[in-house]
Amino acid sequence: MKKKYTSFGFSLPLSQIQKNQYVQILSIPNSNIRLQAIRLGMTEGSCIFCLEKLHHGPVVVLIENQQVAIGYFLAQSIRTIPIKASFSKIGGLK
């Protein structure tokens, strides 16, 4: 199944996304984290899924089948744009 994403057109910090929401990463300002994130497949433009969110705590996201917990203040600095994921017939993840 290939996922197809449609953008909603407004941006918000990663800390404000909701559980079970797909978002696309717009920017990761912290250069150290950016380097780590690239290794895991999280770059500007990549799509991630919010698995769990703790109040004033970390956001747990799914990046390429890998669960990653991102601290609250770090998540505040990461800009994202909510998207809607739909499924087409063939192909893997982007």
Binding site: L35, I38, G57
Partner: protein, 577 residues
């Protein structure tokens, strides 16, 4: 003689390198289900090769200790064996591309094939092998499948892959961070392109894994785990098992046997008799405390800790606790040294290296030294506290917790700078392998016995000397203003504090026997318990602390813990007595 060729096992954290290392060399390297278990390099041999198991990394750079150690080892290697998690190729192939760019003979081992099959992931190994130009072997470390092919392929030798990044990696590596980012972006694109060959069918986390992260059920589960630990150690082990091992096995059978055997050889008032068979004797107190009292408690505690580690629960706890630790200027990752501290503070002080900044390491070390009792001590504290009334228990726990929070808040506001943010990769939940748990418990308990044994012997000699030459009377007398007047405790507790300074477990074990003998009233138990919990770290921990932090900071931590413990004790004495 020509030196043996060097073979290195490299891979992302938690992909099972240590298990495969064990298959190759027969040497047990610590295995667990949280990233960063292998902090040091383990060495062994396989046929004509010298084999190294290095810390797991997500990429090669010289940003942190683990990556530096791994990079150094990789640059010296004659052959690289890259271990990958078959369910996480998206992440792991990134490191593979970096390794291929080094231009050394390589083999890829795709591990966790049992999980790959379970999750219905299809990997086209032939196509991947062709594109990368490196032989691939599919293995399952847990099931032991593919091990023969792995050995066979290693003996046949690897091959040098086609470099992906079009310019030389090594030349630029140490100079330019922006180059690094550019090359990393390039590699990431390549990995994404390569993986269009392989299909993921399901993209869901397990239900239990999510439940553990749930804001409500996660905490509920955490409380449940803590209660189970309390029940097993505080009730079952500390009361039923210890009654048998300490009172009957060691305290009666062994004690009668050894005194019966050696008593006729020495006169009762000789120094030798006091040294070997006296109250603090090398052949009486040391083995009774060490084997009768501490061994069952420590082994039980390590077993539970290993179980939590191997299931992958520890990392989830880190996520739950992140918000609270951020109040101390730490992030959730600090739960790992803190929980390990309940095992052994000395070991935990070394693990503070996983924390991002010097500031965090200092705060975590101070909290470990002041507020966290180590396994033997913790178990004894649990055993004693289970005899207290609920009200006393509440006073004791409340005092220790509030001081822990106070020190954390205080340091966070006092120290300049900021701390690093949580960015933690969560390992999948796995059913632990029983044999692995037993091996790990045995290894850690053995380490404990070795470490504590030396301190116990030294402490026993010192205490016997004091006891024989009437030093205790002098000590009790000189500390009486503190113990009796300020703290409202019997003068013998001065000896207890001295023991705590040598090794906290020794002091705690002595406290246990003092409580069993009924020397202390309930409020006095609460006061002593609080002082012992907050009291200075033992000599072994102090040595590590000086090594990891600066001597000045270590002395400050040491002195402030003495001040804190006694002043808290004095306040409690004013309120309770």
């Amino acid at each position: 003689m020509k030196e043996k060729p060097l073979l290195i096992l490299v891979g992302n954290p938690n992909v099972g390198k240590s298990v495969l290392f064990q298959y190759l060399t027969g040497i047990y390297a610590e295995v667990s289900n949280f990233p960063g278990t292998t902090v040091e390099v383990t060495e062994g041999t396989f046929e004509q090769f010298r084999v190294l198991d290095v810390p797991g990394v997500f990429g090669l750079s010289s940003d942190n200790d683990e990556e530096r150690v791994t990079l150094d080892a990789v640059l010296q290697a004659d052959m690289i064996v890259n271990v990958l998690d078959g369910t996480q190729l998206h992440r792991d192939l990134f490191l593979t591309l970096q390794l291929i760019d080094l231009g050394k003979p390589m083999i890829l081992l795709v591990n966790m094939m049992d999980d790959v099959q379970k999750k219905h992931i299809y990997i086209d190994f032939e196509a991947l092998e062709k594109t990368l130009g490196v032989p691939i072997v599919a293995v399952s470390g847990r099931k032991g499948s593919g091990i023969l092919q792995m050995k066979h392929q290693i003996l046949e030798g690897g091959s040098i892959g086609q470099p992906f990044v079009p310019y030389s990696w090594k030349d630029h590596f140490f100079n330019s961070p922006s180059y690094n980012e550019e090359a990393n972006r390039f590699r990431r694109k390549e990995v994404n392109r390569l993986l269009s060959n392989y299909l993921i069918q399901k993209n869901k986390a397990s239900g239990l894994g999510l439940l553990l992260l749930h804001p409500f059920f996660g905490f509920l589960f955490l409380i449940f785990i803590l209660s189970v630990i309390y029940f097993i150690i505080g009730k079952v082990l500390a009361q039923e098992v210890i009654n048998f091992t300490e009172d009957f096995l060691m305290g009666t059978c062994y004690f009668n046997w050894i005194t019966g055997l050696l008593n006729p050889c020495f006169s009762d008032d000789s120094f030798i008799s006091c040294l070997l068979l006296g109250e603090y004797g090398l052949l009486t107190m040391v083995p009774i405390y060490l084997f009768g009292l501490l061994l069952p408690l420590v082994a039980g505690f390590y077993f539970i800790l290993s179980l939590l580690e191997d299931c992958g629960i520890l990392c989830r706890v880190a996520v739950l606790m992140d918000r609270w630790f951020s109040k101390f200027g730490l992030n959730g990752k600090a739960i790992i040294p803190m929980l390990l501290g309940f095992g052994c503070v000395t070991m935990a002080l070394i693990t503070t290296r996983i924390l991002g900044t010097k500031r965090e390491r200092l705060i975590a070390s101070a909290l470990l030294c002041i507020g966290i009792p180590c396994s033997a001590q913790f178990a004894i504290l649990l055993a004693i506290s289970s005899q207290l009334t609920f009200q006393s228990l509440l006073i004791y726990l409340g005092t220790v917790f509030s001081l822990f929070f106070f020190v954390g808040f205080f340091l966070n506001h006092l120290l300049p700078g900021t701390s690093s943010e949580l960015f933690l990769i969560l390992p999948p939940l796995r059913t632990p392998v029983f044999l692995n748990l037993i091996k790990k418990t045995a290894q850690k308990t053995n380490h404990f016995l070795h470490d504590a044994g030396v301190m116990f012997v030294l402490g026993s000699i010192l205490l016997s000397l004091l006891s024989y030459f009437n030093g205790f009377a002098l000590l009790y007398q000189s500390l009486e203003p503190l113990t009796t007047s300020v703290l409202g405790l019997p003068p013998q507790t001065a000896g207890l504090f001295l023991m705590c300074m040598i090794k906290k477990d020794l002091g705690a074990a002595h406290l246990y026997s003092m409580v069993s003998d009924g020397l202390l009233s309930e409020p006095q138990i609460v006061i002593v318990l609080t002082i012992v919990t907050l009291f200075v770290p033992c000599f072994a921990s102090l040595a590590v602390l000086i090594k990891e932090q600066s001597p000045l900071q270590s002395m400050l931590i040491w002195l402030s813990s003495i001040f804190l413990s006694f002043s808290t004790g004095a306040i409690l004495a004013q309120v309770l007595l």
